[in-house]
């Protein structure tokens, strides 16, 4: 590998890592604060991608798709939290697993009813449909850079909200002590609804942003879910910081792994996870 | 002088910068009832957890009957002959009283990795279970499901389970916490009985109870041992009066 290839792969892995972080952060937030494991997180990602497809077909603009898609995802999140997740808080994780697994089956079929079983492409917006040349014969697509910038901005935004705002304080307190939050006079019910909806919206946004990169197909949420679980397990469940570094690590491993050890490429991320678990059974930042 | 059963040397537990237990030295004599006093947050429960292996010490050492216990996990310490009861009732709520104690008694078998023979056919375990139930006064409640028993009975059950592990030293973390007057009196009686056969380390807030049963006392404040001595020595200690008893109104 020459330097330019390495550079491009590095950019790819950072971009992939940032996107993974965006999606995983929703999963880890919902777990860390609400103690709920949402297996349907990947399905939310898929719904986001299909919304991007539908809205772009309709309006022709990815920007509009984002503006319309996020409120739709928030509503989906609120409805699911209020009607289904709400009854699970005091119960065993086992039931959360089953309920959200059932939800996956339903959402997958809804997708197939609404949009069929074909693979669809979503065009990259014209404005971002170019590439920046790195060397004479190597270039990097602008859209990927734009996605990275958006993800990075959201990561910084999330950090700021959690560290500096009142909502963030409640979130941090809620992660460690539910009674204390209640004693502060904050409505935990509402907080939970907000967090769950935000988590769903983050997954959905991840889906919208990746639609032009990866095409849109049935069952696309499954793979993402598993990779996100690996990210969250590596980083430590509930830790945003852990999700960030976990995602970066997986980004690197899954971009460079296939180049360095092709025979093990698909199981590489799991080997990394196994290794982390051996050393730190509760993840890197738990 | 009686022989030393357990000796803790400079035992320290640091929770992220906070010294919950700070260089504690403690000697338990064989056959004595030793009580630990101290205000909330003095590190009493942490000390018991260190001795029982539920948490690992940051530094220091524990010797029991001449054997080093310092880095051993709780299940090994249990097999060395130290039993403990918990401050918060810690039982198997859905099992009967008999089944609760059974599980403790069964742990004295060489191994429980036995898959073929029905457990209930192990006569020696059954015998140990029945003696322990008798000893803690729950013989008549053997078939009652633990969660349906009164709080006081659950505390007794906790002691029964501890006895079934055939310990020589009993660590009892606030055995009377949350009990009514009558139940407390019954338990003081039980502790006095146990004191005839076992060495006891007792954490207790109830002063009357402590002075009624303890041979020696250790007073802890802020994770450190303030003073150790007989009840009379402790009562008359200037230091203890100032640091602890005085502030809470004394005796």
């Amino acid at each position: 590998m020459d330097l330019a290839t390495i550079l491009i792969q590095l950019l790819n892995s950072v971009q992939y890592g940032l996107l993974l972080f965006l999606i995983s952060s929703g999963l880890t937030l919902v777990f860390g604060i609400m103690g709920v494991i949402n297996l349907a997180h990947g399905a939310m990602y898929m719904i986001g991608a299909y919304l991007a497809y539908a809205f772009v077909e309709w309006t022709g603009s990815l920007g509009v798709a984002i503006l319309l898609g996020i409120p739709v995802m928030l509503i989906v999140g609120i409805v699911i939290e209020r009607f289904l997740i709400d009854s699970l808080y005091s119960r065993d994780h086992l039931f959360q697993v089953l309920l959200t697994f059932g939800l996956i089956l339903i959402l997958n079929d809804i997708q197939s009813i609404l949009w069929g079983n074909d693979t669809h492409g979503v065009p990259i917006p014209d404005m971002l449909n170019g590439s920046i040349s790195l060397t004479d014969n190597m270039s990097y697509p602008v859209y990927r850079l734009a996605v990275s910038v958006v993800c990075l901005a959201l990561a910084i935004g999330m950090y700021w909200v959690i560290q500096k705002t009142r909502l963030g304080m409640t979130i941090r307190a809620g992660a460690s002590n539910r009674e204390m939050v209640e004693s502060l006079g904050i409505n935990v019910r509402t907080l939970f609804t907000i967090i769950f909806a935000a988590g769903v919206a983050l997954a959905g946004l991840g889906g919208i942003l990746s639609a032009p990169l990866s095409s849109v197909y049935p069952g696309m949420g499954d793979n993402v879910l598993i990779i996100c679980l690996v990210v969250v397990v590596i980083g430590g469940i509930g830790s945003i910081k852990g999700a960030f570094w976990g995602a970066m690590m997986i980004g690197l491993v899954s971009t460079f792994g296939p180049v360095l050890i092709p025979s093990l490429s698909s199981v590489m991320v799991y080997l990394v996870m196994a290794l982390v678990l051996l050393v730190k059974p509760r993840g890197l930042f738990a | 002088m009686a022989e030393v059963l357990l000796k803790a040397q400079d035992l320290t537990k640091n929770f992220g910068g906070l010294y919950a237990v700070d260089s504690v030295c403690l000697e338990l004599m064989k056959g004595e009832v030793h009580a630990i006093l101290g205000p909330n947050g003095a590190g009493k429960s942490t000390l018991v957890n260190l001795l029982s292996g539920d948490i690992m010490a940051t530094s220091g050492s524990v010797m029991f009957e001449g054997q080093e216990l310092t880095k051993l996990p709780s299940y090994k310490i249990s097999h060395c002959g130290i039993g403990r009861s918990f401050q918060k009732t810690n039982i198997f709520p859905k099992l009967t009283c008999f089944e609760n104690v059974w599980l403790a008694a069964q742990s004295r078998q060489k191994t429980s990795m036995r898959f073929f023979r029905p457990a209930r056919k192990m006569a020696d375990v059954k015998e140990l279970t029945m003696t322990s139930l008798k000893r803690c006064g729950l013989e008549a409640r053997a078939e009652t499901v633990a969660s349906s028993m009164s709080y006081g009975e659950q505390r007794q059950l906790e002691i029964g389970m501890m006895l079934a592990t055939q310990p020589r030293l009993l660590l009892m973390d606030e055995p009377m916490a949350g009990m009514g007057k009558e139940e407390s009196e019954m338990l003081v009686g039980l502790i006095k009985e146990l004191a005839q056969d076992y060495t006891l380390l007792l954490i207790e807030h109830d002063m009357d109870a402590v002075f009624a049963v303890a041979d020696r006392l250790t007073v802890m404040v802020n994770g450190r041992v303030l003073e150790t001595g007989t009840p009379e020595q402790i009562k008359s200690s200037q230091q203890v009066q100032e640091a602890y008893l005085g502030s809470e109104g004394g005796f």
Binding site: G102, V267 | S112
Partner: protein, 333 residues
Amino acid sequence: MYNTPRPISLLLGFLLCVLAFYPLYGDLVFGSKASFFMSKLTTIVIFAILAMSLDLLVGITGLVSMGHALFFGLAGYVLALASPEYEAASIWYILPLVLLCCAALGAVVAFLTIKTSGIYFIMVTLAFGQMGFYFFNDAEFSGGSDGMYIMLKPDVSLGGIQLLNLDEKQTLYYLSLACMVFVYMVLRMILRSAFGQVLIGIHANEHRVKAIGYNTANYKIVSFVIAATLAGLAGFLAASQYGFVNPSQMGWHTSGYALMMVIMGGAGTIFGPAIGAFVFEILHYVFESFTDHWLMLMGAVMICVVLFLPNGIGGALLSLVQKKETTGEKNDG
């Protein structure tokens, strides 16, 4: 709590008879479809074995595994890979080999995951299951996502005399049924044994079990290995029946369905998950027969079970029987 109440034993005995005599009345009741239904029943019985093996983890030990299908699928792959190409493998070496491989992988996974608990354990077992899935999905030697064929079913003969012919549907049906009863007996035995007592304690309060002197990690690992081995038995039968194995048999959807069977039937009751397997697969068949979107209906059923029947069918039966018993006692007194 370790003895199945009499009415339930009778019910189970009756259901078993219904299954055992199927070949006698199948033709009369289902006519030309009888043979198809026998294959279907064989599949269900095999799933019942898988679900019961998972119950040892979920219902008895309290370890919620979302990667149990890993061992179910592995068994098929071992059978396919270790069978000679042009002749049938003798069951006397192939079955022990399959079970041994499942036990060995079970031990490795258990060793890596057992220190985690609760939600962590769920996620990590799921991830390990997927690791197996991708390994076989991407490997050339195992046929990638198409999987592998098992051309000739294992040969069951002794001293040159064929004892069972697994190509006969009915033989395979009875073999599976016998295995189901065997696994049920094994699990009952384990539950009553000293080992089982410790597992029950771990489920209820692991911290306390440690404090009274058990090295709980070892017990959990052994429990996991036993469950993996029994899942391997189910996988062996499944691969023998289908004649092929593919990665999706070890995917996390299969694990999820197995978990659903356990909960639907009643975790911790052992017989419940077997009933759960029957209900789940019959619903599957019924839904599938009138809509392409049967998975959606299964999802809805899952959600309903979680919300309205958390103790499963087995749990409901048990409480029904116990209620009758207590009111009966009152009437007597």
